[in-house]
């Protein structure tokens, strides 16, 4: 019984990273879908914040609501057993792959 009680608190990893939107068109609907797609592959709870609000990283409506333009900085936060992997995968999508879209210029 004691062991069961302990399982609830097992591996509560929290991981956070600030990323910058680099593609010229910003976080419009298609990139938002890519983001949510990847976020949903993880068990961790994922939130994304800009300067004003924090939204659910697994909800397409909420992510679209961020309206993050090129150059915007966002904070990705994951909480759960696979938090580190989730943040790595999402920050790679935003900063390395820039949603497979062109950069400005």
């Amino acid at each position: 019984m004691e062991k069961q009680a302990g399982e609830d608190t097992l591996e509560k990893v929290v991981c956070e990273k600030e990323v910058e939107i680099k593609n010229a068109d910003g976080l419009h609907m298609r990139p938002a879908m890519q983001f949510v797609d990847i976020a949903n592959r993880f068990d961790s709870d994922i939130t994304v914040s800009n300067a004003e609000t924090t939204v659910d990283g697994k909800s397409i409506m909420q992510i679209s609501m961020l309206a993050a333009t090129c150059g915007t900085k966002l904070k990705i936060r994951a909480e759960g057993s696979d938090a580190q992997q989730a943040v790595n995968a999402l920050s790679e999508l935003v900063e390395q792959r820039h949603f497979d879209e062109p950069l400005p210029g």
Binding site: A24, D25, G26, L27, H28, M29, R30, M33, I60, M61, Q62, S64, M65, L66, A67, A68, T69, C70
Partner: protein, 157 residues
């Protein structure tokens, strides 16, 4: 950003005749054209472009709403139009449910930031269950205009 800044209320279709996605898009574009919001002869092209975009990934985001949109070169000002269907339209939505409220948007090619800010305003409101419910219940274009004006004034709606 306000709905009143970009929605062409004159073109609202409170009861779409269309029963499928492509016809609904067509109906809304023709309504915008009739309201004088589109360059002559551009409609056909725009309809094609929106359907093409929709085929890449549905803008039916779930909960009965869809936001078909496209960037189009000959459009100078971002413009949007609202269409409602009480029967519901199959938009191949993410949650596979029929769509009752459509907000269609055409943006100029060179202003991605404005496109995003407009999307933010749309989603901020569509997120709210009350707003979705009220929008869906509008049976006349004036109701849509009243609701959107109210949403512009009072963000708690």
């Amino acid at each position: 950003m306000k709905f009143a800044d970009f929605i062409c209320f004159e073109a609202t279709v409170a009861q779409l005749k269309a029963t499928n996605r492509d016809d609904a898009i067509k109906e809304l574009i023709l309504s915008l054209e009739k309201a004088g919001k589109l360059k002559k002869g551009a409609s056909k092209d725009i309809i094609k472009a929106i359907i093409k975009r929709e085929n890449e990934a549905s803008t039916g985001m779930g909960k009965g709403v869809a936001i078909p949109h496209v960037k189009y070169k000959s459009v100078k000002e971002l413009v949007g139009v609202v269409g409602l269907s009480s029967a519901g339209i199959d938009f191949f939505a993410l949650d596979k449910q029929p769509v009752h409220s459509v907000i269609l948007m055409i943006s100029p090619e060179n202003d991605p930031d404005k496109h995003l800010i407009t999307m933010e305003h749309i989603f901020k409101n569509l997120q709210r269950e009350m707003f979705r419910k009220f929008l869906r219940q509008c049976s006349r274009p004036e109701h849509v205009q009243d609701l959107l004006n109210e949403a512009d004034e009072d963000s708690s709606l």
